[in-house]
């Protein structure tokens, strides 16, 4: 018991675990809509765009959250606008806009070599650096996202199911997409410190697809995805402490492990059901 509670003696672990659990739940919630919209790649792309924004914010001496958040929000809007008003597919639009944004960050780092701030934490995640202020930001973003999803739940569901038809039935799909872009950018900024640019996409996608394997009910997928995100955030932090690996990597590995188990079990169940059908036929 003492061994299990040992990590909680350290403030960095308590802060990191709280941040990982909240970020996991937040990514789990947003991830459901990302996966069902067929835009799994957007998390990967936008996190790179936000990295560019973070570097720009640093160079311009802006607040990190505001600078990187606005950059991510504008990138998400540009992607939506490009997909809606041109013949370019979502994956191509994400590829162009977010990679260009990332390149801005890389160019600035190479141009101003006298950086005092390390961007390693942004790339790979670092729980050691989670401050009380960061915790408040993650908590605020999580609460704001949950409240927004609550109030636009039906409009968001219809838009995710069939955006064009939702518009015909009176849903302001442009507004819904804008709000969603805002939520996504905020969630990515909030989770960046824990998971890092390179791993955040997995935290968006894996809990949602794991939940999708478990149920056909939209409401249950939401609850399961959030729960899986929170649980694997907690387990991943524990693993990171005992195995001494980066927190982002251990959280994603915990999610990947759970996904593999669920996939194996559900596949076996399906096979068993098919065999039963064949037997009865």
């Amino acid at each position: 018991m003492h061994l299990l509670l040992e990590p909680f003696q350290f403030e960095f672990f308590r802060n990191g675990t709280m941040a990982a659990v909240m970020a996991g739940g937040l990514c789990g919630l947003i991830g459901v809509y990302i996966v069902l919209r067929g835009m799994s790649y957007i998390g990967h792309g936008l996190s790179h765009a936000i990295f560019g924004g973070a570097v720009v914010a640093y160079v311009m001496s802006w607040n990190f959250y505001i600078g990187a958040g606005m950059w991510g929000f504008i990138s998400a809007l540009l992607i939506n606008k490009t997909v809606r008003s041109t013949k370019i597919n979502a994956d191509a639009a994400i590829g162009v806009i977010t990679t260009a944004s990332f390149a801005v960050g890389v160019a600035l780092i190479s141009r101003y070599r006298s950086f005092t701030r390390s961007f390693d934490a942004a790339l790979f995640g670092n729980v050691l650096g989670v401050t009380t202020g960061d915790l408040w930001v993650i908590a605020g973003v999580s609460l704001m996202t949950a409240v927004m999803v609550f109030f636009i739940y039906r409009q968001l569901l219809f838009t995710t199911f069939d955006s064009e038809v939702a518009g015909i039935y009176g849903v302001k799909t442009g507004w819904i997409d804008t709000l969603f872009a805002l939520m996504l950018a905020a969630a990515l900024i909030a989770a960046l410190q824990i998971l890092g640019v390179t791993l955040i996409a997995a935290a968006l996608v894996i809990p949602a697809i794991t939940a999708r394997l478990l149920t056909d009910s939209f409401n249950r997928i939401i609850f399961l995805s959030v729960a899986i995100g929170m649980l694997t955030g907690f387990v991943g932090m524990y693993l990171s402490f005992y195995v001494d690996v980066a927190s982002g990597a251990s959280i994603v590995l915990a999610q990947a492990f759970l996904f593999t188990v669920v996939l194996a079990v559900t596949s076996l169940q399906q096979r068993a059901q098919q065999r039963m059908v064949h037997t009865h036929v």
Partner: protein
């Protein structure tokens, strides 16, 4: 009386490629019209103009007397083609139907008691209430169509627009769907639909609009579905048989036999072997399947064929 839908000299295209030209069309309240034409004729584009999801390049589209300016038409419900729907999306029948009430609910995730009562009343009428908690994938083709029709009806629209509601289902299901639409129309619903099924449209829909880039003809099917009009619409040889007040429309078969297309229809089988079904009446593998036409059959042929057929027997040879 002011029409519910009016298109005035509408021209529309994608990237300067014209799809529809000089469309003048109107639909009055209580009308039930089917838009027919070949693939690529602009049927779906016409619906999108009426729905307000596309803007005309020239001309104007008015719904309820109001010109649409790039925004969806109010009080119009839409039933999309079934093959555009993501059947694996995790939603139940009830959730899909309740989407139709989205205009009337805002800022609350749960349906109200009134919403649910409306939903169940519509689902009862369309005989899908017992499937309310089922996933949409686990329904038959006809049930899927009725679920999306229920979503459209729960919005209590002035105009119901359907894109090929009879595609992808068997004839009996398509027939039931059209009877359902006729019932709704008798209750006062204005309906505009597209279809590829000319025979179904001829038998059930009171008004037909033939288009192929432009309006070729519009009116009651009995007047509009002539060989001449349909041949112009489909740019092929169409024939119309009138029998006891009903229309049978078909494309004129090519004058070749299966034997030409498939030299050896059954691999490893030598024609004339014992066990063959009755040998074809003609050596080239075709049979005089129609024989002489009954006296009450009136075959309406495309103009170019009419002169050739004069004086000839109505008996025709079609592939077996």
């Amino acid at each position: 009386m002011e029409p519910l839908v009016e298109l005035r000299n509408v021209t529309f295209g994608y990237n300067d490629v014209p799809v529809l030209s000089e469309i003048d069309m109107h639909l009055h309240r209580g009308q039930f019209a089917a838009v027919v034409g070949p693939s690529g004729a602009g049927k779906t584009s016409l619906l999108k103009l009426v729905l307000g999801t596309q803007k005309p390049n020239h001309g104007s589209v008015l719904v309820g007397g109001r010109a649409l300016a790039g925004e969806p038409a109010p009080y119009v419900s839409y039933v999309p083609q079934v093959d555009t729907i993501d059947w694996n999306f995790p939603v139940t029948v009830e959730q899909v139907v309740l989407m139709g009430r989205v205009r009337r609910t805002w800022l609350w995730p749960w349906p109200s008691r009134v919403d649910r009562e409306h939903a169940y009343a519509v689902m009862e009428r369309l005989q899908v209430a017992h499937l309310a908690q089922n996933h949409i994938r686990n329904l038959s083709g006809g049930q899927q169509q009725r679920v999306f029709l229920a979503r459209a009806l729960i919005a209590q629209p002035d105009l119901l627009v359907l894109d090929e509601p009879t595609s992808g289902v068997d004839m009996q299901t398509a027939e039931k769907m059209l009877h359902l639409l006729l019932d709704l129309n008798r209750d006062g619903m204005t309906i505009l639909m597209t279809t590829h099924d000319l025979n179904m449209a001829a038998a059930h829909v009171p008004w037909a609009i033939c288009i192929n880039g432009r309006v070729i003809a519009q009116g009651p099917p009995v007047d509009v579905f002539t060989a001449e009009t349909l041949s112009a619409t489909y740019r092929g040889e169409m024939e119309v048989v009138r029998h006891n007040g009903m229309l049978l429309i078909y494309q004129k078969p090519h004058e070749h036999s299966l034997a030409d297309v498939l030299p050896n229809p059954v691999p490893g089988h030598v024609p004339g072997d014992a066990g063959d079904i009755d040998a074809p009446a003609e050596s080239n593998g075709t049979a005089a399947a129609w024989g002489a036409a009954p006296a009450d059959l009136d075959i309406d042929q495309s103009p170019e064929e009419e002169s050739e057929a004069e004086g000839a027997s109505l008996a025709r040879t079609i592939p077996v």
